[in-house]
């Protein structure tokens, strides 16, 4: 029983961190271009500063 007192909050906290992470990712626009992100890794960016500014 005593173990539950810290195990349940710990489990909930971990879940809440995951949820917060997801909401943050959503807000910062990481879900706006799912197909593009998959393709972009194929681009050799010789000049990384070029595309650095995000448009959203």
């Amino acid at each position: 029983m005593a173990g539950l007192l810290y195990l349940i909050p710990a489990a909930l906290l971990l879940g809440a961190i995951g949820l917060a992470g997801f909401l943050w990712a959503l807000r910062s626009g990481q879900y706006e271009d799912l197909d593009g992100a998959a393709e972009r890794i194929l681009i050799d960016s010789d000049d990384s500063a070029e595309n650095a500014p995000r448009s959203k």
Partner: protein, 751 residues
Amino acid sequence: MALDLTAAVTPSSAEIRLASRSLGGDLHQTDLSVPSVHCAACIHTIETTLGKLEHVESARVNLSTKRVSVRWHGYEAPPLFATLDRSGYRANLFEPETFGKDDTLSGLIRAVAVAGFAAANIMLLSVSVWSGAQGATRDLFHWVSALIAVPALFFAGGIYFRSAANALRHGRMNMDVPIAVGVSLAYAMSLYETINHGEHAYFDASVSLLFFLLIGRTLDHVMRERARTAVNGLSRLAARGAVVLRDDSARDYLPIGEIAPGMRLLIAAGERIPVDGTILSGDSDLDCSLVSGESTPRSVGLGAHIQAGMLNLTGPLTMEATAAAKDSFLAEMVRLMEAAEGGRSTYRRIADRVSAFYAPVVHLAALLTFLGWMAATGDWHRAMTIAIAVLIITCPCALGLAVPIVQVVAARRLFEAGIMVKDGSAMERLAMIDTALFDKTGTLTLGQPRLINASSIDPTMLAIAADMAAHSHHPFSKAIAGFGGFSGQPKLDSVSEHPGFGMEALTEGNTWRLGRRGWAGWKARTGGEGKHGGYGGTVLTKNGTIAATFAFEDAVRADARLALAKLRHSGVSIEMLSGDTAKACAEVAGALGIERYVPSLLPSGKVEWVEALTRAGHKVLMVGDGLNDTPALAAAHVSMAPATAADVGRNLADFVFLRESLLAVPLALDISRKAGRLIRQNLAIAVVYNAVAVPIAIAGHVTPLIAAIAMSASSLLVIGNAMRLQRFARALSLESASQGGPASTGVLAQS
């Protein structure tokens, strides 16, 4: 196609600025839709070439929406379109109104996330309870569950509570009403049980129900949003503004809303007429196919009255506006369209009709259960618990998913075939039709003339004509230019275009003319002049003597014949409505085997035709592209438009097909009908589930564990059944491809 013609003129710098959003200072953001971007190389090319332009701050491609956001500073917009064109990408300006994020979607996704988090954690605690947690431990688990459920109920459940309240306020019933009632009663009862150290709590049921339903709702929304984005990304056909010529001969680019009667406007070749008006100077040919349905361009000169939406083909015009945009032809069509709105607004969706019947039955059953147990045992707590268990077990998880999940799968399948569906009710309505009305110009045909006597023309003459025609945007010229490529013809010097008449070229002292018979063949008075276009209207002359005669025909859309045959096979009768002449209609009707057609219809005439059929008890599908079809699209039970349709029609139509083939129509019909069958099957599954589960619940044998299993099982069953549509649809498209192959080449061979 109208699209090809407009692409010739790219938006001016002033127009780009008008369509961009100011980000403070002199920084602007312009959104372009680039339909052809599809891979990493495209992203790289577009971003680097645009990024290298002067004044461009950044360019970012979104591959999912096929859009490019460009940030630039300064007063003059950079040459975005010319640059993209040179790299081989055709771009369209994106609407300023459609900027901004989709708030509904992010709200839904946040709700799914919160509900998912709550459902997962509560389910973990519930499993412990089911596997034997007792006493204080069970109470603790219940309390924690109750706490986690609160935000989920407010945040995720809010969507359902608002929708249910809205429906009830308007005296209607929708699926969200029983959901809202069930979820909130389940929570209230579980809370009461928890406070009184009870054994059964349904927190998991109420939250996981919300989670499942939200997933369905979100998928539905995503699908519709994708269709909407794809339609919005098409090139805009109506003018966004026009160059106004001031009295002091200054030129201003004004947005269309600020153009007042009396202003003088400059219309370059390739632009659309922004408002109704009269021509002050200049000669040109106008493509009226979107406005009146006429397939042959009309030649105009001084004093001619022109209507908003016509496309200026060959020469620059100065016109005086006689009406503001809100009083122009386009606005008149919008008024007719609003007046005609009827068929779809009275339609009640299957889900709403089912829930109007279902919710009272369920709530009555729960009430009777309560009264029955009260009478039998006199224990109100027990009676209440069992009655609420009935509500939870009947809470329409399967029912709430039965309709949307099928429509999501169907919409996705149509999306892959290049058909955009605006909403689920469109598919339900399409499945009901028994009559299909087609517009002629631009719908059954491409609205684009084709040279039909090329084989009987001397190849040298044809080559000369093709060389000359390459210098013009006139649809007839484009049709002739397609036959170029032979060598050996005399080289042309100084080709010039005489708007409204034709082309003139000089070769080694000879004057060649290609155009209207009366103008080009000035030595041969054959009496053919005065006849606009049509057979024998266009000739090639050498020093005034006719060297070749060209005959044109409006090219019929690919697979039109096969598509109509398939529709007839599905039991749909076909008619053609057109604003074009009886002769032109008879030719197309003959070529496609259409028995019933009505020529020379005004826009209001088309509406009356649709309404007459509706009154006679028919469910009418209207397929049309022109401005003149728009009111009829609104009046019909369900409507379809090709991607090349006028903007208003495209935004109004329930379905928009992006590919050229008319096979989109029978495909959409087949999938909609199949989806309708699956929806009915799904509803039957839900009813069977209830028939089994409700007696168990009424008898008082339902525990939270049984409720969780039963609800998940019925949902999975319904989703699994919906997935069968994907398999069926694939088989269908394979079959139509194998049928379409030989048949379409057959049509080509005939023509």
